[in-house]
């Protein structure tokens, strides 16, 4: 191999490494800051908080049985994840959380790379559900779900490479509530 070939090869590897590290960094960026929600803890009658980082997800993945089809799918999905963060607050009466609590999250979800792919407004149930994803190239690098009802606020943040078609397998796992993700399609990346 000539020096020129060596140099080209090194450059290619560097580019690959840069692209990869950029993707990882952007995946990490998919984590949403939600510490301001902690103040709701003393008002809520039911609280669920889950914080699983990459190491713990990989640890959990060790115990998934690849011979079981669903567990194998979950394991495959978990392998690409950097974190799962869940907050569920249930209140005895409406009005215990403020719209500013959600606005703070939404403002982060308006940053570049994030797209809202589902928005449901139910007047009958008085429930609003927004699903946002963060795209890196053609890949989904993060997902955030806000479900707001008068007496319940749920926020889910999944950080890492998410295959939306397999996302259903995560429902009910790792503290993630059952979600109606039918019909959720992977959108084109937004140019902003």
């Amino acid at each position: 191999m000539s020096k020129m070939e060596m140099a080209v090869r090194n450059i290619v590897w560097m580019i690959i490494l840069m692209v990869f590290s950029t993707a990882v960094a952007q995946a990490q960026d998919a984590r949403i800051e939600i510490s301001h929600l902690n103040r709701l803890a003393d008002k809520a009658s039911e609280i669920v908080e889950v914080e699983l980082d990459e190491k713990l997800l990989q640890l959990a993945a060790k115990f998934l049985n690849t011979k079981n089809p669903q567990e194998a799918r979950v394991k495959e999905l978990v392998t690409g994840l950097k974190g799962v963060y869940v907050r569920v607050f249930e209140f005895d009466k409406p009005g215990e959380y403020l719209s500013s609590d959600i606005d703070s999250i939404r403002s982060q979800l308006r940053s570049p790379g994030w797209s809202k792919i589902v928005g449901v407004r139910s007047r009958k149930e008085n429930e609003n559900v927004d699903v946002h994803i963060k795209m890196v190239g053609d890949a989904v690098a993060g997902l955030a779900i806000i479900a707001a009802q008068p007496q319940e606020l749920t926020f889910i943040n999944i950080v890492g490479m998410v295959d939306l078609e397999k996302l259903r397998d995560l429902e009910g796992q790792f503290g993630i509530p059952k979600l109606d993700l039918d019909g959720m399609a992977k959108p084109k990346p937004r140019n902003d």
């Binding site: 914080e51 115990f63 049985n65 079981n68």
Partner: protein, 555 residues
């Protein structure tokens, strides 16, 4: 899952309710701090369990499931529901488990008596350490566990302690995660053929005296539930019609076995009984419909209704109470709620009271005597044991088979967790057997799903029971099974997690039961070929919907 596996290992080793302090982490004082905090704040001491030191030594030596050590402190018989400020304890936990530790899960349910669960984790080289703190109303548990995840994973694949196998792979056992998980239980014996059921087939053997012709056939007609009806059981008292549609008369043919008795005329008819709920567009029950408002179809072919009973007709009901250990703390509330349930039912309803653990106990036979029923409920305070849910339901169906009236229901307060789901006990009847039978009976089943929380199922918040083992997976399977029983019989599952909600749950059931009409028809084709006959009931009211069982097996 790891935590659950470790907990299971601890339980297997007989140290579940113990306290121990093993010096596997000399520098760590988080555990001591939390224990001291609880002792100081609640004025309570750790429960002392004998032989725990030996168990600790055994764990250190054997390292079962990769567990290298644990600390456990249990506090009992103190009021932990009212501890000083949830936020302050949360803050305390974050302070105590600050260095190297990462908060994983926090669950706080003020509605359930301020139940709290905290799980923290940290890496310790190749090992992982978990800290779990739970508060329930009368119990607190502080536990730290250190284990090697690779060894734990190997243990799950091949559970061995000191080279001795303790069973099949823990992973994936007991439940088919891929779907269709009905938690089939092992059967000790072949279940009896669930059909024909007395509720579906009416066979009347009539002695033919003195060679009289068919014209002397009895005036008896099938009762609504299909058992022989006679003067002693005038269950339909004029509500029936269309006598001509009832029996198909098959005189025995020469050469047939039955023809040996030429003095007999065999009249056979099948009656299909249906308990039907009718609702309007808004889902509100329609309670004043008449017979002509209903249209019955079998495999798409209109059938002629032979019997009709309105929603206010009396119901024969078995109230079943699951008295497994998990409900022990709720007995006072269960008694109180059951009493109110009896009050809520119309006086003419006949109620039997049954308690079940691994045994099926009839505390009161069918009666309308409220005082007797309420007195009998008191007996449940002294009963406790396991949960043979499938077998108990089977026996309840047996009991109801003896009732000649068609309006029958089972109201069962349970968490639905048959012991076969955890493999600890075998059952005479699997869930599939039970579901098959229930779907063919004319009994409407209303499960009241009552699952009190505890620190073990709180762990399921983290792991979701997705691995097919562990308490949360069993609970999910149990809950799904209750749903299937209700769906197949036209009933409804009512879920409640808190004792305080039992009154409401019963009230709803009491209301639901008397939204049911009872109909029956005699199918125009009976092939007895084992095929499934699909039933649908329609209403001649715009937007109204009728709900009933899906069909029956034509055997």
């Amino acid at each position: 899952m790891t935590v659950l596996a470790i907990l299971a290992t601890l339980l297997l080793s007989g140290v579940s309710d113990a306290q121990a302090q093993q010096p596997f982490r000399a520098k760590g004082k988080e555990f001591k701090d939390v224990v001291k905090y609880i002792e100081t704040q609640f004025g309570v001491r750790k429960t002392h369990i004998p032989m725990l030191g030996l168990a600790n030594f055994a764990f250190k030596l054997i390292r079962p499931a990769g567990v290298k050590g644990f600390k456990l402190a249990v506090f009992e018989d103190a009021d932990f529901s009212n501890h000083p400020g949830n936020l302050s304890f949360n803050s305390f936990m974050r302070e105590a488990y600050r260095k190297d530790w990462q908060p994983l899960v926090r669950v706080n349910s003020k509605r359930e008596g301020n139940v709290q669960t905290y799980i923290y984790a940290r890496n310790a080289g190749k090992d992982v350490q978990f800290a779990i703190v739970t508060f329930e109303e009368r119990e607190a548990v502080v536990m730290e566990v250190k284990f090697n995840p690779d060894a734990a994973a190997r243990f799950m694949d091949n559970p061995k302690i000191m080279g001795i196998s303790i069973g099949n792979s823990i992973r994936g056992g007991g439940a088919d995660i891929a779907g269709n998980n009905t938690g089939r239980a092992p059967s000790r014996r072949t279940p009896p053929d669930p059909s024909p059921r007395s509720g579906d087939i009416d066979s009347i053997n009539v002695d033919h005296v003195g060679g009289a012709g068919p014209s002397s056939a009895p005036s008896a007609r099938p009762s609504l539930n299909g058992t022989t009806s006679d003067e002693r059981h005038p269950v339909l008292s004029g509500e029936s019609n269309n006598r001509s549609s009832l029996p198909e008369v098959n005189a025995d043919l020469p050469g047939s076995a039955a023809a040996n008795d030429r003095e007999a005329i065999r009249i056979e008819t099948r009656l299909v009984n249906l308990n039907v709920k009718a609702v309007d567009k808004a889902g509100q029950p329609l309670k004043s419909l008449r017979q002509e408002d209903f249209l019955i179809y079998e495999d798409g072919v209109r059938q002629e209704m032979t019997h009709f009973r309105p929603v206010n007709a009396p119901v024969n009901l078995i109230l079943m109470l699951d008295l497994s250990g998990s409900t022990k703390k709720s007995r006072d509330r269960m008694v109180d709620a059951a009493r109110k349930f009896i009050d809520a039912l119309p006086a003419q309803d006949r109620i039997a009271l049954v308690a079940f653990t691994r045994k099926y106990r009839t505390l009161a036979d069918f009666t309308s005597n409220e005082a007797l029923l309420k007195q009998s409920i008191e007996k449940i305070r002294k009963i406790s044991g396991g949960t043979a849910f499938y077998d108990s339901m089977w026996e309840a169906l047996d009991n109801l088979d003896q009732i000649s009236d068609a309006r029958k229901a089972i109201v069962v307060l349970t968490d639905g967790e048959d012991e076969s789901l955890v493999g600890s006990e075998e059952t005479n009847h699997s869930f599939d057997d039970l579901l098959g039978r229930a779907s063919e009976e004319d009994v409407t089943i209303y499960p009241i799903y009552f699952s009190a929380s505890n620190h073990y199922n709180k762990l399921g918040v983290l792991f979701g029971g997705s691995l097919g083992v562990g308490p949360d997976s069993q609970k999910r399977t149990a809950r799904e099974q209750l749903g299937l029983l209700a769906e197949q019989t036209g009933g409804e599952v009512i879920s409640t997690r808190r004792q305080e909600d039992l009154d409401d749950a019963y009230r709803r059931v009491a209301s639901e039961i008397h939204t049911l009409y009872s109909l029956a028809y005699s199918p125009d084709k009976t092939k007895h070929n084992g095929e499934f006959r699909r039933i649908s009931v329609k209403l001649n009211r715009d937007g109204a919907i009728a709900r009933t069982r899906k069909g029956y097996i034509d055997k």
